[in-house]
Chain length 333, copies 2
DNA sequence: TTGTAGGCGTTATCAA
DNA sequence: TTGATAACGCCTACAA
């Protein structure tokens, strides 16, 4: 790797001049600039980011802490964040914690060691002690779908409670009266908020739902949960995520029920698979792209030390083929 | 951020001693070590990776170049690579090119600037000029599902040609004689190899398939392609990926056909959605995890300058519900 | 067993 | 308009 000194030697200039050319700062004669630029091209010179960071303090790196990349929700989120960060000149350091506090601690150490300019955290771990270390080091943090109790950190999220209400509302409007909720993972605050939203809206209609919460969020675990909770007479199932809802569809069909003939199912997220599955899933869509863009904008605001207005993140009901009017006439009571 | 000097001052030692403690190198008295370690803990000191790299040359960073993270295949691959790299002490710099040569060039510059110790490339772009820059800078490269013509780079991939044969074999064994292939994206060498494998095996049985290749690989594009190619009398459809196969199932059902009653469908990859969809998809599974682990092992071998034996990456037929015996008796001719 | 000092590649200050 | 030089944080000869 050639250094700024090699360029200086080849162009017959000093390192200071080369630095000025690279950074477009200060005065450089056109002829000198041309010589330097030629030398840079000839040697395929690339500035050493480590050395640069050591001088200037800014690393132009941002940590992105997520539980995983191999599930669609976080894969999509990571994609949006990475693209948006790179567009603004930042390199993403993606950290998959696998929901392990231990891993998370190691990643935070690494992020401190790399002198990241900021952190985007979608981690689902409750303990915010690790993030305290970042705050202590003056690293700004933006939480996705999570807050940091006691820490000065911005949080970007849709209104999950309202999302829960929307799911209930849609099924109530179709005449449903007997509900089940499949909620997983139970430790996720957004999931909890959606369940609360559903319960609130049903209570307003004088109804209550059978609620089943599960620890794991994989397809098989959700299907087992759904099979347990779906008793005779139930006509509406609310999944707190698309995966949970798709699992509920499988459970219903496995029990010999038809969807949406016998039972309606609604999900949340609007992941691509909501369209792949048959019947295609009715769901409440979150604007994942906008959430990611907004989170990056907020973080850049914190890094630059100036407030950025928080934009609205609207939810949207997406009607597909898993919900329909209740089959029997309205149930008494 | 505290530096090694702050630690030295607090522990009443010199920076050299602190460095020795941190790196477990040279002689340090137990008492001194204890004082230094206490100071490190008290100040939550983290070594500055940039400074370290400048001294030692090794950055402990590896570039991971992918077309995207928001499609399951690459999301899973990125997850495996990131976890395996971090386990070995490397930080992944994930780069989503969006299949743009322009973006890729920018990312390669960034990787050079960050002095990465190696690069894992799953990019689908043909042009290897950008990778030449890495080679010139002495950065080892491992390709996933791709080679680098003219460049000394290792490549890790399953035998896609054999995978094509497996798909054809399974359907032939079920008595099918009239085939279609939905192949996308057409520019992907693995996809091309699978198509070739299918054609070869069918030719051996004296048969040929209707082959439709598409530029785009999204669900909608594949469904359109499938609808075009599925003519009356066809009993078997081979998707070169699970997405293509799932789209073919949708197309068939949209045409009033039953799967697998009227038409059998098989895919390739065995992504999680192969199990979500109804009917669940029969497919050929690639060992994604093992591919990722193997790729990282190969890269670490290149970085360390010692050959690592390449392990076999077996494919596996996964029987689910989209393939069955041909409905009518064997077709004459 | 511990300390001193030089240099890695940059940028920024100051002088020329 | 350009150049010499100090400093960032760390590691490692070399000296003590």
């Amino acid at each position: 790797m050639s250094s700024i000194r090699d360029i200086a030697a080849r162009a017959g200039a000093s390192v200071a001049t080369v630095s000025r050319v690279i950074n477009h700062s200060g005065y450089v004669a056109a002829a000198t600039r041309a010589r330097v630029e030629r030398a840079i091209a000839e040697l395929d010179y690339t500035p050493n980011a480590g050395a640069r960071r050591m001088r200037s303090g800014a690393s132009w790196m941002v940590g992105v802490v997520l539980p995983a990349l191999d599930v669609p929700f976080f894969g999509i989120m990571a994609h949006v964040l990475e693209r948006e960060l790179f567009r603004r000149g930042y390199q993403a350091l993606i950290c998959c914690t696998d929901e392990s506090a231990d891993q998370e601690a190691r990643y935070i150490s690494m992020l401190l060691s790399q002198q990241v300019d900021g952190v985007l955290a979608a981690s689902v771990l409750e303990d915010s002690r690790q993030y305290q270390r970042l705050v202590d080091a003056g690293v700004p943090i933006v939480g996705l779908d999570r807050g940091f109790p006691g820490l000065a950190a911005v949080s970007v999220a849709v209104d999950h409670h309202a999302g829960g209400r929307m799911m209930a509302e849609h099924l109530l409007a179709l005449g449903h009266r007997r509900f089940a909720v499949i909620g997983a993972p139970r430790h996720s605050p957004p999931v909890q908020a959606r369940v609360l939203g559903v319960e609130k809206r049903l209570a307003e209609a004088g109804l209550a739902a059978r609620v089943a919460l599960g620890d794991a969020h994989d397809f098989d675990a959700c299907r087992v949960l759904a099979a347990q909770v779906m008793t005779k007479g139930l006509t509406a199932v609310i999944g707190t995520t698309d995966i949970a809802a798709i699992a509920a569809v499988h459970a219903a069909i496995g029990m010999g029920l038809s969807v949406p003939g016998d039972v309606s199912v609604i999900g949340f997220d609007d992941l691509p698979e909501a369209r792949y599955v048959l019947p295609a899933l009715t769901t409440v869509a979150q604007p994942l792209r906008e959430i990611g863009v907004q989170a990056v904008a907020q973080l850049c605001g914190l890094i630059a030390g100036q407030a950025v207005p928080m934009e609205a993140l609207p939810l949207r009901l997406v009607l597909r083929d898993t919900t329909g009017p209740v089959a029997e006439g309205p149930v008494a009571g």
